[in-house]
Amino acid sequence: MTRLRLATNLAALALVLSAASAPAQDARLEAAKKEGKVVWYTSLALSSSEKVAKLFEAAYPGIKVEVHRTGSERILQRLMQELQANIKIADVVHTSDAGHYVLLKDKKLLVKYAPAGVERFPAAFKDKDGYHFGLRATVNVIAYNSKIIPAAEAPRTWKDLLDPKWKGKLVTAHPGYSGVITTHVLALVHLHGWDYFKQLAQNKPMLVQSAVDPSGVVASGERPIAANGGDYTFYQVKKKGNPVEIVFPKEGVPLVVSPSAITSFAPHPNAARLFTDFIYSRELQQVLADSEGLYTGHPDVTYPADRPKLSELNLLRVDPEELEKRNEEIKTRFVEFFGA
């Protein structure tokens, strides 16, 4: 990210926000300012989530965003563990495991809140009951270090990764940590069965936690091929000048829509709503697309020219209900095959 770009984004945001201020919003702004902060549990890559927080703080001086970034699965674990001990910290929860929202809604831990404009989002980005909306989307891809692997030899399909010549050359993130990967595993189980992962494990991939981490591992050359990971993370390291190439396997790429919602116990409910409006605004969604390389549900957002459109990709979708039901199975079997 360049500073100039951030400044331009900021200026645009400030302009839009000042134009939109109506008396009702003033009252809410006052209430939010009194609360002073919003606590955001998020699985968005740290550098990206920090950027969102800084943009919000610049647009609404006096309201701090406390970013607690970790993997989706850890977010759910923390949240439930905290509630069990009657600790209420989180205002806004954003993970990449759509199954989590089935569970959270069931347990009445979310409030219904629809920020302006989300009604125009495509169906895949909307909860039919109006509790949560897709803040961003990523697809899972293969990526390789082009300094080490010539393009002609690079794997093109998920099945190509099973070739024994990639033994010791792969890295995979972990479904016990990352919701992007939980979704990925389920999508590929639908496609190729559990046997696929059993065979993949034969190639002894290096195990990392976050779906962000494979991009760094591939860029450094520690393992030249990523067997998965959010495409935006590879796009970001490539933009920074690393020799990383992204492959969209033709069998299809798992689409991960990451929802965000306000908790029913939010200690800062006004700030939470203000923040939620902000993150679904066209301006912020455009920032996510431009500088972070993410896909979003906002129909007016444009994508960088070097990104394929979602409509051009063969997307593999998973049902959130099934994801929720099979969550433990996914983790257990993965550990069974990969060891840890």
């Binding site: 970013v67 195990l207 981490d213």
Partner: protein, 530 residues
């Protein structure tokens, strides 16, 4: 908790734990790790102790301070640095090896059991070193000289005379390093998980993942607890029968054994070990802190200060630094105060049951940090004591963990202050409190300051208990570093690591200045692992 169920008591959790092949593997891995890193620690620590305590090794003061640097380096930070040094493909040493030899494969792979053992040992050998160096410092050299006069070579003397005399210290050092390795969380989490294997501590941590299996974590803690208790019992027995006539007190004459032509090779050996433990890791951390991409050469294009601004502007970092300092100061003050009080009471036998007090103060040493955290989590996440989510639960964990270190240190301090001095004061008409204030306290001051510093250093680097007990508002620095590690943020971790090391060295330097001597070397052997 590990035997509780919905209806009464059950052993089902145990049955499940020990029937599960995953968990069995974790148990076995822990045994392998602990045994070999104990052995390697002795293989490194014992010769270095002998060289620096008994011979005319050049630069022995420098070597000693560098060993202390290795001692205070958080093991998880060392493990992290070694990922950058010896990752099989991108690791610096492997790149160097390939460019020198033209080989294709890696020279080293840190993501293996031997790699893990190596990294654990280079940060554990100081425990063996201190124990043996202290013992060697007490042995008179007459026996050795007698053997020399009778024509035995230097190494024969070392092997047949010196070695048997320090054997109990060596064994005891071995046990201490085994205990360290058993209790470690960070190094296995950083090096074993990517390779697809668990140790007991990482497995306990994994059992907390959603949906949490707290009962199984509790059951799985028991073998770790038993192993620790058993090893300490053995160690106590060993030290208990240390009755060598030659292990005299002060005043016994000691002359440095000339190493002759071996002086410089020996020095080189020591420097090689310290290169692995200190120079290389610190160097790579410094480089990563200023690099855009850690694996690329540090050129102008790759140079950046962004890691620094990013790390310190991140709201979790700021909160964690404040939390860490608060907890460090609070635990050190309360811990040092409590330890001094306990040591005074037990040394002067002021109340009935003082032996029990001493036992209680030392007892937590058998509890690895992860196990302690599981116990505290179970105890304090439900009424009447809802401490989970507050800094207090971390405070209790740290205080419990550091008490054995604090107590041993204070105990040594009060042992060194003869009661006669106090009695003289009493005879001259002073009350107990006045004696305490005017005679005992000034004499004990330096010992108490040292205790304070040990506890503070122990707290700021703690990871194994914190990783289970933290909530977003109670993150500490080590937890933030671990979080960053999961996202592969090498630059930011390097920055925080350097910050943590700087804090540690500032405290050590402060202590050296205040006390005017090398206190770390006199750290008592009882120190909480993990």
């Amino acid at each position: 908790m590990s035997v509780s169920a919905e209806h009464g008591v059950t052993l089902a959790h145990y049955a499940r734990v020990f029937a599960d092949p995953q968990l069995q593997k974790a148990l076995w891995n822990t045994v392998v790790l602990a045994f070999w890193s104990g052995l390697l620690s002795v293989a490194i620590g014992a010769p270095m102790a002998w060289l620096s305590a008994r011979t005319d090794l050049p630069w022995s003061r420098v070597i000693r301070s560098l060993i202390m640097a290795s001692f205070v380096t958080p093991p998880f930070l060392g493990a992290f640095a070694w990922v950058m040094l010896a990752g099989p493909n991108a690791g610096y040493l492997n790149k160097l090896y390939r460019s020198l030899t033209g080989a294709e494969g890696p020279l080293l792979n840190i993501f293996t059991m031997p790699g893990l053992i190596f990294v654990v040992a280079i940060y554990t050998f100081p425990y063996v070193y201190i124990m043996i160096a202290n013992t060697l410092g007490l042995i008179a050299s007459d026996l050795e000289e007698a053997a020399s006069i009778l024509g035995a070579s230097r190494f024969r003397v070392a092997l047949t005379i010196t070695l048997p005399m320090v054997a109990p210290a060596i064994l005891s050092g071995f046990i201490l390093s085994v205990l360290q390795a058993l209790a470690l969380f960070g190094s296995p989490a950083i090096l074993a998980l990517p390779a697809g294997f668990h140790t007991i501590t990482t497995q306990i941590w994994a059992l907390f993942h959603y949906p949490p299996k707290v009962e199984m974590a509790a059951a799985f803690s028991v073998p770790l607890l038993l192993a620790t208790a058993l090893l300490l019992l053995v160690q106590k027995r060993l030290l208990g029968r240390r009755g060598y006539a030659s292990v005299g007190g002060k005043g016994a004459e000691r002359r440095a054994i000339p190493l002759g032509p071996w002086r410089y090779p020996a020095l080189l050996g020591c420097l090689a070990v310290l290169g692995c433990a200190v120079f290389l890791p610190y160097g790579i951390l410094a480089k990563a802190a200023f690099s855009r991409a850690w694996a690329q050469p540090l050129t102008w294009e790759n140079f950046t200060l962004e890691n620094w601004s990013f790390t310190f502007l991140y709201s979790s970092t700021q909160g964690a630094i404040v939390n860490t300092l608060e907890l460090g100061v609070l635990t050190a003050c309360v811990g040092a105060g409590l330890a001094a009080l306990l040591a005074y009471v037990t040394n002067r036998k002021l109340i009935v049951g003082h032996q029990l007090l001493a036992f209680l103060a030392l007892a937590p040493i058998v509890i690895p940090g992860t196990v302690l955290a599981v116990a505290l989590f179970i105890a304090y996440t439900r009424p009447p004591f809802l401490l989970y989510g507050t800094l207090w639960i971390l405070f209790i964990a740290y205080l419990t963990k550091e008490m054995p270190v604090g107590y041993s240190q204070s105990d040594a301090t009060f042992r060194g202050i003869h009661p006669e001095l106090e009695e003289a004061g009493r005879i001259l008409g002073a009350g107990r409190l006045r004696v305490l204030r005017e005679i005992t306290a000034p004499l004990a001051k330096s010992g108490i300051i040292a205790t304070w510093c040990f506890i503070f250093i122990g707290v700021i680097r703690e990871l194994s208990a914190s990783i289970i007990l933290f909530t977003p508002n109670t993150k500490v620095m080590s937890v933030v570093m671990f979080d960053l590690k999961e996202e592969g943020q090498f630059g930011a971790i390097a920055v925080l690591g350097i910050f943590m090391l700087a804090m540690t060295f500032a405290i050590v330097a402060l202590m050296q200045t205040l006390l005017g001597k090398d206190v770390l070397g006199q750290r008592p052997s009882a120190s909480a692992p993990g």
